[in-house]
C-alpha cells in the first residue's frame, strides 16, 4: 500500500485522500509535521483559529516490526508558545495509522456551529461523524465507551475536557495496547484539536499492511538493532525503575528544581524516587515493566496501583513526578499518582500543569506540599472550567501573571522541566534555543559521536556546551522523524552497531540508500525549518533566553547562577 495524505476540512466537513508531494516523501514524524506546518500554516495565525492545522504523522518506521518504532507525532502552531510545535506519544495509533497507508492526517479549518465530531480513519480515508455522548467527558470514559462501540481492534486518539475548553496546557492522548493512555503532552495541541471540535479519532487498519521494500535486509537490521537495545545496561535500569530512576541522581547533583525552582535538592526525594516507586509497585501487585506500544523492547513504562491494589496510573514518568513532587514539595507518591491520573483523564500536560501549581503555590494559592489541595483544585476547578481552573490550565506563564509572581520558570511561555539549568547548564542552552519552548526532549538524543557531529569539545568552555547542545538537538530532530522512542539513543551512543542498523532499517523499508550524513542533514533541515517558521511568526533571538531570575538567584547547594550571555546563546544557530 502506498502512503497518502489524508486531509480533513472541518469548515466544509469534507475529507480527501491526496498523493504525497515529492518534497514530503522522505519525511516522517516530526520532520513531516514541521514541513507541513511550515508549508501550510500562516505563521502569524491564531493557534485556535481556522488557519492553524493539526498534523498527525507516524514515523518513517511506524507500522513495521522495527523495535520501539511506535511513536506518533502531532504538529501545529502551539497555543501555549505561539511557536511551531511537535509533540509525540506512544500507544498503538502510529502503527495502525501507518497500516492505513496514512503518511499524515491533516486537520484544517473550523466548524461554524457548536456541534462536536469524531473522525474514523481507515485505509479508504476519513469519515466525519457527529459526536454528542462523549462531549464533556474525560479521556477514560472516551476510551471505555469507544472500545464498547467498536468491536474490532482499533487505535484511539482523544482529548479530555481541557482540550474541549481549549486550555493552553491541554494535551492529546493515545490509547495503548492495554487501554491506558499515553500523551503528546507539551505545547497545548489538545486545544488545537478542541478548536477544530474533534473529540476523538479512531483508526481501523482493516487488513492494511506496511510494505517493506527489502524484507530480508529489514529483518537482519532489526535483529541487530533489537540486540543493541536489549543488551544495553540503561535498558535494564529503565525496565526496572522507569525514567523516575533519575530523581535520586538529579537530586544528588543539586539539579532537581524544588519549591518552584528555589533549591536544587528536595528533602523528600527518597519518598518519590524510582527505587521507592519500584518497591511500592511490587508490594501492591503492579507491573514495574510495561511497554507503551507493541514492539517496545525496553519497556520503561509501569503500572502503579493504589493502596488497595487497584490500577491507578501508568507511564508514571520522572518529569511528571518531579513536577508534582519536588517542584510543589509533595512527598506523597500516592497523591502524585492520583494527580497524574486526574491530569490524564482531563487531558492536561502534567509538566506544564504541575509547574503552574508550583508558581501558584508561590503566589499563595496553596501551601507547598499540599498534595490534597492540588487534587481538589484539579477536580473542582480545572475539571469544571472555573476561572481559577482555566488559569491553572493556561500554564505556568499565565499563573505567574495572574498571581504576580516574578519567579516563573518558562521559556517561550512553556514550563521548564525537571533539570535546573543553573546546575546543568548544557541543558539550559537547549531550553533557551529549542524551537518549541523549554523542552528537555529537544536535545535528548545521545548519538553525537556515532553521527560524527560532535567535533572537538572543550568540556570547560561555554562554546563546547553550545556545540554539544546543537549536536544533540540535530540528532534528536532526526530520531523524532523515524517514529522511534528517544530511549534508543543510549544504545546508539555505546553500541557502534545500533545507529547503522537504524539507518539500514529505513533503507530497507523504502529501498533507498541513506547515509549517516543524510541523517545529520535531516536533523539540521528540521531545526532550520522550525526556526524559519518561528521567525516568520515574530520570534527573535531575544526569545531564546532563560528567565531573568536564573541570573540573580544562586541555586543551592552549588550556588551557581545562569551566566551565558545572549551572544553565546545565539552562536547556537551558527550552522
Amino acid at each position: 500500500m502506498s502512503d497518502k495524505i489524508f486531509r480533513v476540512n472541518m469548515t466544509t466537513l469534507t475529507t480527501c485522500v491526496e498523493e504525497v508531494p515529492a518534497n514530503w516523501a522522505g519525511h516522517g514524524g516530526r520532520g513531516l509535521t514541521s514541513t507541513i506546518v511550515t508549508a501550510e500554516v500562516p505563521p502569524t495565525c491564531h493557534p485556535l483559529g481556522p488557519n492553524n492545522k493539526l498534523i498527525i504523522a507516524p514515523g518513517l518506521l511506524s507500522g513495521t516490526p522495527a523495535a520501539n518504532s511506535g511513536r506518533l507525532s502531532f504538529g501545529g502552531k502551539s497555543p501555549l508558545t505561539g511557536t511551531i510545535k511537535e509533540s509525540n506519544a506512544g500507544g498503538t495509533a502510529a502503527q495502525l495509522m501507518a497500516r492505513c497507508g496514512c503518511k499524515a492526517l491533516i486537520l484544517e479549518g473550523r466548524p461554524a456551529g457548536n456541534t462536536w465530531y469524531s473522525l474514523a480513519v481507515s485505509p479508504k480515508g476519513v469519515t466525519i461523524n457527529v459526536e454528542t455522548e462523549l462531549i464533556g467527558k474525560g479521556n477514560f470514559e472516551v476510551v471505555s465507551t469507544v472500545t464498547g462501540r467498536i468491536a474490532k481492534k482499533h487505535a484511539l486518539i482523544s482529548i479530555g475536557q481541557t482540550g474541549e475548553m481549549r486550555m493552553a496546557a491541554a494535551n492529546i492522548s493515545v490509547k495503548d495496547s492495554e487501554g491506558h493512555l499515553r500523551s503528546a503532552g507539551r505545547g497545548g495541541l489538545g486545544a488545537v484539536m478542541g478548536s477544530k471540535r474533534v473529540k476523538f479519532i479512531t483508526i481501523d487498519p482493516q487488513d492494511g499492511k506496511v510494505a517493506i521494500a527489502d524484507p530480508e535486509k529489514f529483518k537482519a537490521a532489526n535483529k541487530i538493532f533489537t540486540k543493541a537495545l536489549t543488551s544495553h545496561p540503561i535498558s535494564q535500569g529503565l525496565g526496572q525503575y522507569g525514567t523516575n530512576v533519575l530523581v535520586n541522581i538529579i537530586n544528588e547533583a543539586g539539579g532537581l528544581p524544588t519549591k518552584n525552582f528555589t533549591a536544587g535538592q528536595f528533602a523528600g526525594h527518597d519518598k518519590i524516587s524510582g527505587e521507592t516507586m519500584y518497591d511500592r509497585i511490587m508490594e501492591r501487585g503492579g507491573k514495574p515493566k510495561h511497554g507503551c506500544h507493541p514492539g517496545c523492547v525496553i519497556q520503561c513504562s509501569q503500572i502503579y496501583n493504589d493502596l488497595k491494589g487497584q490500577y491507578k496510573t501508568s507511564g508514571f514518568e520522572y518529569e511528571s513526578i518531579w513536577a508534582m513532587g519536588a517542584d510543589c514539595c509533595v512527598d506523597n507518591l500516592d497523591h502524585i499518582a492520583e494527580a497524574d491520573s486526574l491530569m490524564d483523564d482531563l487531558g492536561l500536560d502534567s509538566i506544564e500543569t504541575s509547574v503552574a501549581m508550583g508558581v501558584a503555590m508561590e503566589g499563595g494559592l496553596l501551601e507547598f506540599g499540599d498534595g490534597e489541595g492540588i487534587l481538589r483544585i484539579l477536580k473542582e476547578e480545572v475539571a469544571k472550567g472555573t476561572g481559577l481552573g482555566r488559569i491553572i490550565g493556561g500554564g505556568a506563564g499565565l499563573v505567574g501573571k495572574t498571581f504576580g509572581v516574578a519567579r516563573v520558570p518558562v521559556v517561550k511561555n512553556q514550563a521548564i522541566p525537571a533539570y535546573d539549568p543553573r546546575a546543568i547548564k548544557g541543558i539550559g542552552i537547549t531550553y533557551a534555543t529549542s524551537t518549541m519552548g523549554a523542552d528537555h526532549t529537544m536535545g535528548y538524543a545521545i548519538a553525537t559521536n556515532i553521527l560524527k557531529v560532535g567535533g572537538s569539545v572543550d568540556p570547560l568552555a561555554k562554546e563546547g556546551q553550545v556545540e554539544l547542545s546543537r549536536n544533540l538537538q540535530i540528532a534528536t530532530a532526526a530520531i523524532d522523524s523515524t517514529g522511534m522512542c528517544l530511549f534508543i539513543a543510549f544504545a546508539a551512543l555505546d553500541d557502534a552497531t545500533c545507529l547503522p542498523a537504524l539507518i539500514d532499517l529505513i533503507n530497507a523499508r523504502f529501498g533507498i540508500n541513506l547515509t549517516g550524513d543524510d541523517v545529520v542533514n535531516l536533523g539540521k533541515y528540521i531545526l532550520k525549518t522550525e526556526r524559519a517558521f518561528n521567525e516568520a511568526a515574530g520570534f527573535t533571538r531575544t526569545d531564546d533566553r532563560l528567565p531573568e531570575f536564573f541570573e540573580y538567584e544562586p541555586l543551592a547547594p552549588h550556588n551557581m547562577v545562569w551566566d551565558f550571555t545572549g551572544e553565546e546563546i545565539d552562536s547556537f544557530w551558527d550552522f
Binding site: 535500569g237 529503565l238 533519575l246 535520586n248 544528588e252 526525594h269 527505587e275 521507592t276 543553573r422 528537555h440
Partner: protein, 213 residues
C-alpha cells in the same frame, strides 16, 4: 555525628524482602583516610574493581560528579553516591568520563587537599538503583551505621518491611517489632545489620533490655 560505640540493631528478614532502597538516603561507613574514592569503593563488602569500573557508571562526591577514581575523599563527612548507567541526557552528563560531561555546570569545586594524617571518619554512602539492588544485601550483612530516625522513616514508607522481619535484636537482645520501633525513636546512631533468613545471627533469646544509652 557518629557515637563512639553505637548500639547494634540486627534484623533478620524473610527472603524476598525489599530493603536495599534504604540505601538511597545513605548510610555511614567507617573508613580510614586519606583514601581515594577508588580505594574506598574497592573495600566495600561485595564490591570488586571490575564491578566499580563496569557497573558503577556515575559517582558523586559531595554532590559533584567525579571522573577520576584517584580523587581523594574530602571534607570531615564526605558523601559518596553511586549509580548504574542512567537514561536521559542528564544521565549521560553525569556518567564517568562521559563526552557529555561538557554539559555539566563549568565550575568544578575544589576538592580540598585532605590532611595526610591518618584517621577514621564516617563516609555517608548512598547507593541508587541497580547498584543498591545488587550490592545492598552484602553491605547490610556486613553492617553499616545509620540513624534510628532514618530507619524509622524507611519503615513508615515501606510497611511491608516490618511484616518481613522474622527476628530483631537491639544491642543483642531480641525485641518485638513494636519495642524495636520504640528503641529506634530514642536512639541517634545505630550499627545496623540486615540479613535474609537463613543467614546466621548471634543466638540471643532474652527480651530484657540491657543496653544503656
Amino acid at each position: 555525628m557518629i557515637e563512639a560505640v553505637p548500639p547494634t540493631v540486627e534484623i533478620q528478614v524473610h527472603a524476598g524482602c525489599r530493603y536495599t532502597s534504604l540505601l538511597q538516603t545513605g548510610v555511614d561507613i567507617m573508613t580510614t583516610v586519606p583514601c581515594s574514592i577508588g580505594d574506598f569503593l574497592d573495600r566495600l563488602p561485595g564490591f570488586s574493581k571490575d564491578y566499580i569500573i563496569n557497573r558503577v557508571q556515575t559517582i558523586f562526591l559531595n554532590s559533584t560528579a567525579v571522573d577520576d577514581m584517584e580523587t581523594p575523599l574530602s571534607g570531615t563527612a564526605p558523601v559518596v553516591a553511586l549509580s548504574a548507567a542512567m537514561p536521559g541526557l542528564a544521565g549521560a552528563i553525569f556518567r564517568r568520563n562521559s563526552m557529555h560531561a561538557a554539559l555539566r555546570s563549568a565550575k568544578i569545586p575544589d576538592f580540598a587537599a585532605p590532611s595526610t594524617q591518618s584517621r577514621i571518619i564516617g563516609v555517608r554512602l548512598k547507593l541508587f538503583n541497580m547498584v543498591a539492588a545488587e550490592k545492598g544485601e552484602a553491605l547490610f550483612a556486613a553492617g553499616v551505621h545509620c540513624t534510628g530516625a532514618g530507619l524509622l522513616d524507611f519503615i513508615a514508607g515501606h510497611p511491608a518491611f516490618l511484616t518481613s522481619i522474622s527476628r530483631a535484636l537491639f544491642s543483642g537482645q531480641e525485641l518485638a517489632d513494636s519495642d524495636l520501633i520504640k528503641r529506634l525513636r530514642t536512639t541517634d546512631t545505630i550499627q545496623l545489620t540486615i540479613k535474609m533468613r537463613g543467614a546466621i545471627l548471634p543466638a540471643k533469646t532474652t527480651t530484657k533490655e540491657a543496653h544503656h544509652e
